[in-house]
Symmetry: C2
Subunit: 312 residues, 2 copies
């Protein structure tokens, strides 16, 4: 199995990406090969500086890069030779079985939808994030920004996507799916959540446990938290800011430590025909390593096939 | 000036409310009289137990209560003799110049709109909350739940309401108003924020400083953060949960201490024809005291007149 990594993506690329690839190499199993997409010359010199034999990786050389601030759709259309463009071409053609990047998030999303395409039956792919739980373990929040406006049937599908991720990649048994809302009662909410609740209540597609509120994100009320991408993005960035504040204040605590995105590697894009993970722009080598491993886990667990089966 | 307080509202009423009234009495100025609305007998015995002369208060006796779980509109219609119902009657008739309660939030909102009514020109009243800033000082977030679905012109008005609260009650000079969004750029957002941005950008009604993200809530990017009530309620409850977690973990820090809702007393309802404040259900005497003082400050600052002038 070949696992693709964009080594040109992220604020500290290519160095952080290449160093992360070294760390990932040590953790990958025998049948897994890392394919580095980007500037082979620079990567080789970084590897040699670190006494790492470049032959342990496959390379697909390109020097073109989609910048962090570029318009996603334009960049994907105009820069097919960029590391993200090339990575998705390799993924589409089956040369690699997973692809990840800490680069332009929008370009990763658009690239995934344009190349490997959305799984038939999936209305909109979603981006997810991991949230630590106070009592230990993890929760999954989606969507965190791919879809600023959602309809009820889209949120219902996010429940399916999140549930399958929780089950297959995070080994949760019969994951509890909750709807993020502004009250626990069925009759609470905005038009979207009011219309979504009955769909989720009646579905056989996942284990719906009802509405939750903002205060429930870190407790054990549910395993998967579903919301529109506007709400999810505000939640994600607010939670990140709390983590940053606890760091600044040098508060040492096991729970706050588990907010560290580096441990989780990145956000899977769910609902496209291949495993794709987007890392945080500020990813360091540890984060890159975990992003690569997450994309490999998604591939090894056949998550995409399981999602396809759910939407047949 | 007479300041009304519902002594039957809140999880620890009437005791916490009556003890809070004693604290508020000590802080009120000479011309201000507290009017306690609720069970006079119980209140008197609590006051006597605390060696406080009941004659320092005015009482309006009633034993009927709107429960925390009651349906707001039904309760307001069916229980005009409840402490909240009576409080709003006093407010409407001008016997009191401000009214606050830690009771049923929805009933307070509906009661305000049915009794003193919405200020002409205001499309929807809003509920606000205070957020502490990392570098000191406060920010104002609205709406936090009165309006789960909002239109762009409603968010524009929230900017006016929040700006006037910041200026007149929190003494901020030319408060900076920001739109809570999922990106800083003008072209980022959901349909609501995309449609709201140009209205705010062009307005002369307040000092618009652009989009902010979830991570900006505690930094110094703005003084007033505008969002729909769904987003604001999720933000509020998520932030509260962080505060609760830092308490549980016994993390002592000046910034986290300033999350304590007790210091702020409650959420003003803005856009109605009188000062109304809703306290947290779990309000203790300290919170009740600050809720009463906040409602008194709203009355003394003539905030309602200033809002009326802005909407002429």
């Amino acid at each position: 199995m070949k696992i693709g990594l964009d080594i040109m993506g992220g604020d500290y690329a290519p160095k952080a990406a290449v160093l992360g690839a070294i760390e990932a190499y040590k953790a990958l199993t025998g049948g897994q090969t890392l394919v580095l997409v980007g500037d082979k010359e620079i990567a080789t010199s970084i590897l040699q500086e670190n006494d790492f034999n470049p032959d342990r990786f496959e390379f697909v050389h390109t020097t073109e890069v989609i910048g962090m601030g570029e318009h996603p759709t334009k960049a994907i259309a105009q820069k097919p030779g960029s590391s993200i463009g090339v990575g998705f071409k390799l993924l589409k053609e089956g040369h690699i079985q997973a692809f990840s990047s800490a680069g332009n998030t929008g370009a990763m999303l658009v690239g995934a939808m344009f190349s490997v395409k959305t799984i038939p039956g999936v209305i909109r792919p979603a981006m997810t994030t991991i949230v630590p739980k106070l009592e230990g373990g993890l929760g999954i929040l989606l969507d965190v920004g791919a879809n600023a406006d959602c309809k009820p049937d889209v949120l219902l599908q996010f429940g399916v996507l999140g549930s399958l991720l929780a089950e297959n990649v995070y080994n949760m048994n019969n994951p509890r799916v909750a709807l993020m809302n502004i009250g626990e009662e069925e009759e609470k909410g905005n038009m979207l959540s009011l219309a979504t609740y009955p769909l989720m209540k009646e579905t056989q597609l996942f284990n719906f446990v009802g509405n939750v509120e903002g205060r429930d994100l870190f407790n054990d009320s549910a395993d998967v938290f579903v919301c529109d991408g506007f709400t999810g993005n505000v939640i994600l960035k607010l939670a990140e800011s709390f983590y940053v504040i606890t760091r600044k204040k040098r508060i040492k605590d096991e729970f706050f430590d588990r907010f560290n995105y580096e441990q989780y590697g990145g956000s899977p894009i769910l609902g496209v025909n291949a495993p794709v993970v987007v890392g945080h722009g500020i990813s360091n080598p540890e984060a890159i390593k975990n992003m690569v491993l997450l994309s490999a886990n998604m591939a090894e667990s056949n998550l995409v096939d399981k999602i396809k089966q759910a939407f047949v």
